[in-house]
């Protein structure tokens, strides 16, 4: 369905500098009306920066943007919106505290003489949410209380409400489950059929093959290939273009778990009195346990409760046989647990502080003598870790805010690697992480497990759960409905279990 229309948007020689970083250094590509143009690239390649330049949120330092053939400069987001460019940002830029409807129409409020037409806004929001397959989200809900997935849906509703000619989506599927991705694709097809162009960013190559028409690959802020046919181009070629190397096996080989290995993490009858109940979980040393389930099934809550970040109503958590005090993160961390939370920005990172400080924050006492820190050792150890994780740009003094999403995720991981945990809880560890880095993270998790760490992984990517975990638990509506070895179950069975009773 490649529509050979004239270019709606074309970009040439785009350059964007940040203090100390050249985020874009010569990007060229063009988007035609009615097509889905995919942007691919490693973490930090400059995709989000490009989006922000296109939507008027950043001003380019050099280069030319042509909109319908005319050179334009979108000085601010309003100008871009007026021209018909709508964007969904990676950072979920919604305003917590405002309702869903208010967020959808923020900046282009429906109003008469300054007075909000609230009923109308609610009605139209309702319609947009229905169209996105989410009649369950109320337009009156406070956006801050929605799950990340639902927030993403609201962001999409917001972009749709702008009625743009060009819709830019920065990793919209990262927090969605397969079902929701399918709905999203339906909407995208509907839009392109109406002649709307879509720029689609994702790290999931399968999605790109399914929805994309053409592909542009960015590497280090430069276009390395553009206009590739999304369906025909070979995966290995794309990966090679992105990473500059060849990657044949995404998931590392599993080593069979020693059935006699000690049970490191034992959870019995855990319930938080609200979102889940009766959770039993045993993880042996060297074992990776995956939790699959729909978004909203309560997996994050289970992890957080195990970790003591939420208070359990019932049940026990024991590490190495010793029960932990309920509701105490400190006790969990001392017992050797670590958590990579789901929302790295709000829960994981000290955004305005240096990379190394984010890494050492959980291991401070090991760098301290009588409370005095050895700053140099901190930096050295952190530098070694970031190097081995290939955090880009390098430099442990860098402020985390300036890193791309995937690299931020690696920083959180590095924190727990440094601490040498006994139990590692990973909530969506590869959300927003590129293929190359993802396989690195997989290898890392595997290597950790092989060194005797007990790992629990929550992921909405069923393939990831199956590929990485030794054992898979399926969670549905706060209950564990399946518990078995990963090689005895396949993707469709998991999806069946996950969706059971759901309108699948």
């Amino acid at each position: 369905m490649t529509a050979p229309a004239a270019a709606l948007l074309s970009v040439s020689g785009l350059v964007k500098r940040f203090p100390g970083v050249l985020a874009l250094q010569g990007v060229d590509f063009d988007v035609r009306a009615g097509e889905v143009h995919c942007l691919l690239g490693q973490n930090g390649a400059g995709k989000s920066t490009l989006i922000k330049v296109l939507s008027g949120a950043h001003r380019p330092d050099e280069g030319e943007i042509r909109w319908r053939g005319e050179v334009v400069s979108f000085g601010n987001p309003t100008a871009a919106m007026r021209s018909g460019v709508a964007a969904i940002y990676q950072e979920l830029d919604l305003v917590a505290g405002l309702s869903v409807a208010d967020n959808v129409f923020l900046g282009h409020e429906l109003s008469t003489a300054g007075f909000s037409r609230r009923a109308e806004a609610r009605r139209r929001t309702r319609a947009l949410l229905d169209r996105l397959g989410h009649p369950d989200i109320s337009p009156d809900r406070d956006v801050g209380r929605l799950s990340v997935a639902h927030q993403q849906v609201v962001s999409m509703a917001r972009a749709l409400s702008l009625d743009g000619q060009l819709l830019i989506m920065d990793e919209p599927s990262a927090v969605l489950d397969p079902d929701e991705v399918r709905v999203l694709f339906g909407v995208i097809r509907e839009l392109t059929a109406q002649g709307v162009a879509v720029v689609y960013i994702s790290h999931r190559l399968a999605e790109i093959r399914e929805i994309g028409d053409r592909v542009t690959v960015l590497k280090d802020g430069r276009t390395v290939a553009t206009g590739l046919p999304a369906r025909e181009v070979k995966t290995s070629e794309l990966i090679a273009l992105m990473t500059g190397r060849v990657l044949d096996n995404v998931f590392p080989d599993r080593k069979p778990v020693d059935p006699a290995a000690p049970e490191v993490l034992v959870v019995r009858g855990l319930a938080d009195g609200d979102r889940f109940r009766g959770v039993d979980l045993t993880v042996r040393a060297g074992e990776v346990v995956g939790l699959a389930g729909l978004v909203g099934s309560g997996r994050s809550e289970i992890l957080e409760t195990i970790y003591g970040a939420r208070k359990a109503a019932e049940g026990t958590v024991a590490v190495d046989g010793r029960p932990l005090r309920r509701g105490s993160v400190g006790a969990a961390v001392r017992a050797g647990m670590g958590l990579c939370p789901e929302e790295r920005k709000s829960q994981g990172l000290l955004l305005d502080q240096a990379v190394y400080r984010n890494i050492t924050v959980s291991s401070l006492s090991s760098f301290a003598r009588f409370g005095f820190l050895d700053d140099r050792a901190e930096r050295a150890r952190s530098a070694r870790l970031t190097e081995s994780l290939d955090v880009r740009p390098a430099g442990v003094e860098r402020v985390v805010r300036g890193l791309s999403g995937g690299n931020q995720q690696k920083v959180v991981l590095a924190r727990w690697l440094l601490r040498e945990c006994r139990v590692l809880l990973l909530d969506e560890p590869t959300r927003g992480v590129d293929v190359g880095a993802r396989s690195e993270i997989y290898e890392l998790v595997r290597a950790l497990a092989d060194s005797g760490v007990a790992v629990v992984v929550v992921s909405s990517d069923v393939e990831e759960v199956l590929g990485l975990a030794d054992r898979v638990l399926v969670v549905r509506e706060g209950r564990v409905v399946h518990d078995g070895p990963a090689d005895e179950i396949d993707e469709s069975r998991v999806l069946d279990l996950v969706m059971e009773g759901h309108a699948a």
Binding site: M81, Y89, L94, A96, L98, L106, G107, S116, R310, K311
Partner: protein
């Protein structure tokens, strides 16, 4: 929200989550099970305390009007402050602006013009001075990028100094016929000052909850980056917020002139603390993004009722201070427990 997350939230000066949206009329009045329950309960308890200790002297209509009259001036400032704080700012200069506006509006020159034309000149002068001060604050903060705390601290010093220079540190007595008469009057038994306060609160509520301007204020305070990406001119909006507060200060100055028949550089002492306290106790987040006019009105009423009850009981100022501290804490704790129960 889990117990612990709530704690962290409180630590971040986030009061327990309550819905902002879909409040309807109940938002203004404080729905029985809504977010203002704690405040209503605190106020009711205070009133019960007043009746028990002072009996009819408290429950008297005249006394209630006295409380409302006392609340009116600081109330108008607090409504304006609600906007600024909801929008993520703070203003320490409100008291000084009230002083400067009161002085400027009562100079011999202004009074002379007012006498020659109409007393409304005094009102306009005060509003103009207040609005201009707010504008300066807003521009310094939004375009000059001076941290609001510091910018308004500087304005505080400068405006009070200017007020002293203009007034030569004398109390300026107002002798414009009509002015006092207008503001001393009552509408259906309700003093004009109280009517003004009510109108300001109502307009403020509508502005914050029913208009584009209000929605944008929440956005600017809650997530300025998101607001910018949504196409809102955050800086211009910020300037508007401070200007609005400046206008409120100007109006408060007019009310204070009417109440005391004077303009003085000492007017508005410590209004900044009183107003911020009322706003925050009312449930507006000091970090921005959540604000409630109804809560602010309750906050103001709690503080004024408190000092009225104390006075009726002939309490010593020191004991009053200790009791006040305790009552503030109890009110907030109550408010949180109730809000959590009903909201979460």
């Amino acid at each position: 929200m889990s117990e612990d997350t709530a704690a962290v939230a409180a630590q971040q000066q986030r009061a327990p989550v309550a819905k902002d949206s879909g409040s309807g009329l109940s938002g203004l009045l404080g729905s029985p099970a809504g977010r203002n329950t704690g405040l209503v309960v605190a106020l009711v308890l205070l009133c019960v305390g007043g009746v028990v200790t002072a009996g009819d002297r408290f429950a008297d209509v005249d006394n209630l009007l006295t409380i409302l009259r006392l609340a009116a001036v600081i109330g108008v400032v607090s409504v304006g402050m609600t906007f600024v704080i909801t929008g993520g700012g703070i203003d320490l200069s409100v008291g000084a602006i009230v002083a400067l506006a009161s002085v400027w509006a009562t100079t011999l020159a202004t009074q002379g013009i007012a006498n020659d034309t109409h007393w409304i000149v005094i009102v306009f002068t005060a509003l103009l001075v207040g609005g201009a001060c707010g504008l300066v604050n807003g521009v310094l903060i939004a375009y000059g990028r001076v941290v609001a705390f510091i910018a308004t601290l500087a304005s505080l010093a400068a405006a009070r100094g200017l007020a002293e220079i203009i007034s030569n540190r004398k109390t300026q007595i107002v002798n414009v016929p009509g002015f006092a008469a207008f503001f001393d009057a009552s509408v259906l038994g309700v003093p004009v000052l109280v009517v003004i306060f009510a109108v300001v609160a109502a307009v403020g509520w509508v502005l914050l909850n029913r208009t584009t301007f209000g929605r944008r204020t929440f956005a600017v305070g809650g997530n300025p980056e998101a607001a910018r990406l949504a196409g809102i001119d955050v800086r211009r909006h910020t300037v508007w917020l401070y200007t609005l507060l400046g206008l409120c200060c100007g109006l408060a100055a007019v009310m204070l002139i009417a109440r005391t028949t004077t303009g003085s550089a000492t007017h508005g002492g410590l209004y900044e603390l009183d107003a911020i306290a009322a706003v925050v106790i009312g449930g507006t987040l000091l970090t921005g993004g959540r604000g409630t006019i109804a809560g602010t009105v309750f906050g103001v009423l709690i503080f004024t009722t408190l000092s009225n009850v104390f006075t009726l009981n002939n309490l010593s100022i020191s004991a009053q201070a200790v009791a006040k501290g305790a009552i503030i804490v109890v009110a907030v704790l109550l408010q949180q427990r109730l809000a959590r129960r009903s909201g979460a």
